[in-house]
Structures are given as C-alpha cells and as structure tokens.
C-alpha cells in the first residue's frame, strides 16, 4: 500500500508547436493533489495520457498500482476521470447513461447515485443534450464518484458549476479521501479552492512540472519580501527572486525562501522590512511569469 496512487516517470509527448515533459509526478495515496498551470501548459494532455487518450512518446505511468499502458482495464476499474470535454449525449437520457456506466463497475454505490441525482437536481428521464453545461459536469461527477474508485482524476471540474455545487464538490472530495487509500488529482484554475482543499500542489508550465510540494510548505516557501538595499549593493536577476517592484526606497519581490533564506539575503546587504505569506494565486503568477525568462525552481 506504499506505492503512490499516481506515478509518472519521464513522460513525454510532442505535438507540433508543443512539447510535454519529461514529467515526473508522484501523487501519494490519500492526497488531494492540485495540478495547476497556465492555459496550454499541458495539464489536460497529461491527464488524458493517463487514461489512454493518446500514447506518450516516452516514460511510464501507473495509477492505483497498475501500469496505465499495459493494464488499462484494471487501472480504469479503480480510477475514474471527469473532464469537460466528455460527452454522454449519445446515451440519450441521464438514466441510460447511468445504466450503461453502472454495468462496468462491480462496486457501484446505488445509494450515492440516488443521493447525487437528488442533490444535483438531475432527473433520470432528462435528455443529456438539453442539459446545461454545469448539469453535464454534475452528471460526469456522479458517474465518476459512484463507482467508488481508488483514484479520481478531475480536469477543471468546477467550470460551469454554481457556488453551491462547487462547495458540495469539495466537501464530497474531502469525504472521499477520508479513506486513506483514496486519492484525488485535480486540475483547476480556481486556485482559492485548491488552496483550501488540496494538500499537494504541482505547477505545470510550458509542458514542464516546475514546482511540486505540500500546499502548506509551498505557501511558506514563497513569500513576499519587502527590502531595501544599501547604495553599493545590487541584486542581479537570479532564480528564486521573482516579480521585483520598487516603491520609492523600498523594493519587494516574491522570494523562494528555500533557495534564499533570510540570513543569506541579509548577508547580501538586504535590509528585510517585512515578510508576507501570499495566496496561492500570487505565487502561481510569480512562478509562471518568471518561468518565461528563467528557471525558477
């Protein structure tokens, strides 16, 4: 049971104009892992590759202890996927889609299915083609949660969801991972949600996983530092020193404190005036914008 829930080792995939990886990503069992990144950074491609939607050019992937390429059926029995690109329209009605999907999972939770239908205000006889985008996402969530998988992978699950449904989603995910063998990998642009619920964060930028770690450590590591410099000192552009701004005599930057501890900064001639923890969103912007110029982690 010590094997990670999801493990990607050296996964690469190339398209014209875009290269993913090599991605090395480890999601421990029982975690809610938030994968974040700018648009086009390769998040959906990575998640799609896990579920056999394309073949990686190199590397290996395992989910729930099963090789995602060689044991895809066994893997998919234990892992489900919610993605906004998924269509269930072909099954016609909500009830038919549920009946079809249910047939493939031996541990389908009928009680949960009824509860979610009720909560999401979905009727079995409703035509999927006529559902709103948010209602379709709810149906996808239902179909992913009821098989009681070991791993749920969610790609932008909050898109189109109303605040109530969004709140419910995260509550349900927390309940889901209460069993320590269950794991959630979630890609989302709602960083405030991830900050509250995800215990691990990975940042993907331009096809590369630039940072990975526990959320709490992450927030501790990257802080807004306000400082002033003695006249004869200057700080060259360097990794881990991001988004520098000047306000009269004071300057500020988002600093990777693991790379540049306060004592090191002071030794360089900086007078530290304040250190402030930043919301995940600000850290994300600092890291990904710096990434365009230099490697930040």
């Amino acid at each position: 049971m010590n094997t990670p829930a999801i493990q990607l080792q050296g996964v690469t995939k190339s398209f014209p104009g875009f290269s993913l990886g090599p991605v090395n990503l480890t999601v421990p069992r029982g975690a809610i892992y938030g994968l974040i990144g700018p648009n086009g950074s390769g998040k959906s491609t990575t998640l799609d590759l896990l579920f056999g939607m394309g073949l990686p050019d190199g590397g290996s992937m395992s989910v729930a202890g099963y090789d995602a390429l060689r044991q895809e059926r066994e893997m998919k029995l234990r892992a489900t996927y919610v993605s906004p690109d998924t269509q269930f329209t072909v099954w016609g009605t909500v009830g038919k889609a549920i009946a079809f999907v249910q047939g493939f999972y031996p541990h389908w939770d009928t009680g949960m299915c009824e509860r979610l239908l009720d909560l999401f205000r979905l009727g079995r006889s409703e035509k999927i083609a006529l559902l709103s985008f948010g209602a379709r996402t709810k149906l996808s969530l239902l179909l992913a949660l009821c098989p009681q998988p070991e791993v749920i992978v969610l790609d932008e699950p909050t898109t189109g969801l109303d605040p109530e449904a969004r709140k419910f989603l995260f509550e349900e995910l927390l309940r889901f991972v209460a069993d320590e063998n269950r794991t959630v990998l979630i890609s989302s642009h709602q960083l405030s949600d991830l900050e509250r619920f995800a215990d691990h964060i990975g940042i993907l930028s331009q096809g590369t996983l630039i940072c990975e770690g526990q959320t709490a450590e992450f927030v501790q590591r990257y802080q807004l530092v306000e400082y002033s410099l003695e006249d004869h000192f200057a700080i060259p552009n360097m990794p881990g020193f991001m988004g520098r701004k000047s306000h009269s005599s004071l300057q500020q930057a988002v600093v990777d404190l693991a790379m540049h501890p306060v004592s090191t900064l002071q030794a360089r001639g900086l007078t530290i005036h304040s250190q402030t923890e930043l919301p995940l969103e600000d850290i994300f912007i600092a890291l990904t914008s710096t990434r365009k110029e230099t490697s930040s982690c």
């Binding site: 398209f15 590759l49 073949l55 269509q87 072909v90 249910q102 999972y105 205000r121 006889s125 006529l130």
Partner: protein
C-alpha cells in the same frame, strides 16, 4: 461585403471543385451530377461551429448575415454550375439544349431547396410530439432532396420527355421554397446563435423514477439497434419512393434505384461517424480495452450495412422488383466496409474537410460500383472478400488511432454539436 469575401476566401477550393466536377460531367456527356448543395452544407457546418455567434458580435446586422449566407448558399453555387454548363456547351455539344435548360433549372432551385430544408433542420433535439414530427419531416425532406436531384438527373439523361406534371410540380415547388428560404435563413442564423442548452434541470420530484432494467453493454446495444432501425427505415423509404415515382417505374425498370440505394446506404452510415467520435472520450475513460473499443467502432458500420441488407432483401420481395438482383446486398456490405475505413481515417484526423472528402469519395464510389452491379456476372461476389479485407484493415487502423491519437479526444466542436453536444467553453 466583408463576410462574403471571407466566405470566398475560406471555401474557394470547394467552389472550384464544384466547377471542375460539373464541367467534367458535362464534357463527358453522360449522367450529370449536381453538387450545388455543397456550399449550403458547408455553411451549415460553419454555423454549427459558431459562425453566427462570432459574426453577430461584430458590427454586422442579423439580416445582413442572413443575406450573405443565402447568397453564398443559393446564388453562388447556382452561378458556378451555370458557368460550368455554359463552358461545356461551348467546348462540346454532348448534352442537348432541351436537357441543358432543365439541368440549369435544377442548378438554380436545388441549392435553394437544400437551404430551405437546412433552415428547418433542428439545432437541437425537439421536445413533444409535434416537434418530433416536424424534425422527422425535415429529415425526410433532407434525404429526399439529395436523392431527388439524382433521380431528376437520371431521368433527364434518359430523355423522358415531355416532362410529367409531377416533375414540373417538384421543380416549381423547389423554386417556391428557394424564395421562401431567402426569409427563413435569418431564423437559422438565430437558432444557431442561441446556446444549445436551454432547459433548466428538472426538479427531482417531477422526474419519473424510471430505472433502466439492463446495465452496461445491453444498454449500448439497445441504443445502437434503435439507430440502425431509424437509418434502415430511411433506406426502405427511399426504395418505396423509387418504386412508386413515375420515372423508372413507367419504363418497367428500376434502374435508377441502384445508385439511389447506394447513396442512401452511404448517407445513413455518415451519422455513425459523428456518433462514434462524440462518444469515444467517455468510452475511453471506462474499463474497456482498446481492442474492444475498436471492434465496437468497426461493428457499427458492419451492423448498419447488415441491417440495410436484410431490409433490402425483404423489400425486393415486397415491392416485387425482379429486375434488381439480390446481389445488391453485397454492395451494401462493401459500403459498410468503406464506411468503416472512412471512419478510421476520420478518427486519425477529425476535421470537417476530411469528412466531406470521405462523403464525396464514398458517393462517387457508390455510383461507380452500383452501375457495375447491373452487369449480370459473378463479379458482385468479389465484394465480400474485398469487404472482409477492408474491415480488417479498418479495425487495425481504428485500434491504432484510438490508442495513439491525442487529437481524436478533442474533436472539433462541430462533431459534438452534430449530436447535440458542446465543446469546452
């Protein structure tokens, strides 16, 4: 004017194709194919892909956009065909003027009729019996208009003069509907602007608690069979039509029905592509192996062709068409294999132009081979081993692309909209 220029800029190759093919057929002097519906269908795809929304967010009036669409769908293809016909008459005089005039009439009213029907086709599934009946009528008209133009063309080539009142009536009706389409295009623009999803979720208390008795694959096969039955019934409808329409039957032969059945069969196979691609992503994330998925995809056109074959054999006896050999079913089965192969090609590259190219190729294939079937020889048996090889090839390619392609799982939104879905917003 900018919208019009934009249309020409994007689809000049299609118009050129229409001109070249029409000219080639006229210079050959035999049966004439009418391709004037291509721009209308292409524009319909454009609307599915969100042309209305993006164009109307620009400083373009709704009426102006509608007029541009009508001009591009009706006037431009008509003019192009007339130009090709005129040029061919100057270069060679293989088609009589009396026939040419009627072909000219078809070239003008046919795209208008298609445009009118497109304006009536639903942008999303209708609710209620009336809505469903209306959808069915426009769906039938859609199938009829495509095959009807071929019927008329064959009839003109056979030189069935003077024209019967029915034919004159059909052409007159098409002319009238062409006029009507000028006004209904605006409705189509509006329909495609509105979002597909308009219905709020039903409160659970009002939802009937219908729980499906079957689970998994049986649910799938029930849905599949319903589709095959629907599409198969379109073929029966086409055959029934072919047997009662005055041209052909008046001569005591059903020669014109060969390409018609072929065309119907192929056309009914086309929606299967959209269905397949639309459902692939959801199937792929379930515990189903790649080989099973590939088999499922190849089985669809096979089952469809098998279904149509059975329907055909039964129909041959019902309508007493002794002059049509039962070997016609081999053509249908072979067509299924071609559709399976075309599907594999589209899976590799889910692009509208490729789907149109496959449709055009399939249509010409059908026409050619259905004519070969008229020859009383053992040739038709060759269709079966050829079809088996093509099915195997299609399975291997389908399996390969399902496994390898990433693009396939993010199909362009028009594929999804065709089946009432929507792309990621």
């Amino acid at each position: 004017m900018l919208m019009f220029a934009n249309f020409l800029q994007r689809w000049w190759w299609l118009l050129l194709l229409q001109f070249v093919v029409t000219l080639a057929f006229w210079l050959a002097g035999g049966w004439v194919i009418h391709l004037e519906m291509l721009p209308a269908i292409t524009l319909s795809f454009d609307l599915m892909r969100g042309l209305s929304r993006s164009a109307l967010s620009l400083p373009v009036a709704r009426k102006t956009l509608a007029r541009v669409i009508w001009t591009c769908s009706v006037v431009v293809p008509g003019v192009i065909s007339l130009a090709a016909m005129g040029l061919s008459l100057l270069l060679s005089n293989k088609i009589a003027w009396s026939v040419a005039i009627w072909h000219g009439c078809i070239a003008i009213v046919f795209p208008g009729l298609i445009t009118f029907i497109l304006t009536g086709l639903p942008g999303r599934p209708s609710d209620g019996v009336l809505g469903k009946v209306r959808d069915a009528i426009f769906g039938a008209l859609w199938g009829l208009s495509i095959s009807g133009s071929s019927f008329l063309s064959i009839f003109l080539q056979q030189g069935q003069f003077p024209l019967s009142n029915l034919i004159k009536g059909v052409i007159g009706l098409a002319a009238g509907l062409t006029m009507v389409s000028y006004f209904t295009v605006e409705k189509m623009v509006l329909q495609r602007v509105s979002r597909i999803h308009v219905k709020p979720a039903m409160p659970p208390s009002t939802s009937p608690a219908v729980v499906e008795s079957s689970r998994g694959w049986p649910v799938w096969w029930k849905i599949e069979l319903r589709w095959h039955a629907l599409l198969g019934s379109m073929v029966v409808f086409g055959m029934a039509l072919g047997s009662v329409l005055p041209f052909g039957a008046a001569q005591g032969n059903h020669g014109g029905i060969y390409p018609q059945i072929g065309m119907f069969s192929f056309m009914t196979l086309m929606p299967i592509f959209a269905l397949g691609i639309g459902s692939l992503r959801s199937l792929r994330m379930m515990p189903i192996s790649t080989s099973t998925l590939a088999t499922l995809f190849v089985l669809r056109p096979f089952m469809q062709s098998l279904f149509i074959s059975i329907v055909l054999l039964v129909s041959l006896y019902i309508w007493n068409m002794e002059d049509i050999p039962p070997s016609l079913v081999f053509l249908v089965i072979a067509l299924g294999s071609m559709a399976a192969l075309a599907q594999a090609i589209i899976l590799r590259n889910p692009k509208p132009w490729l789907a149109i190219a496959c449709l055009a190729f399939g249509a010409s294939f059908v026409m050619t081979f259905s004519l070969l079937l008229r020859q009383p020889s053992g040739f038709s048996w060759l269709f079966l081993p050829a079809a088996a090889v093509i099915y195997l090839l299609a399975w291997l390619l389908t399996r390969r692309w399902i496994r390898r392609s990433s693009k396939l799982y993010r199909p362009q939104s028009w594929f999804l909209r065709m089946i009432g879905g929507a792309a990621r917003s």
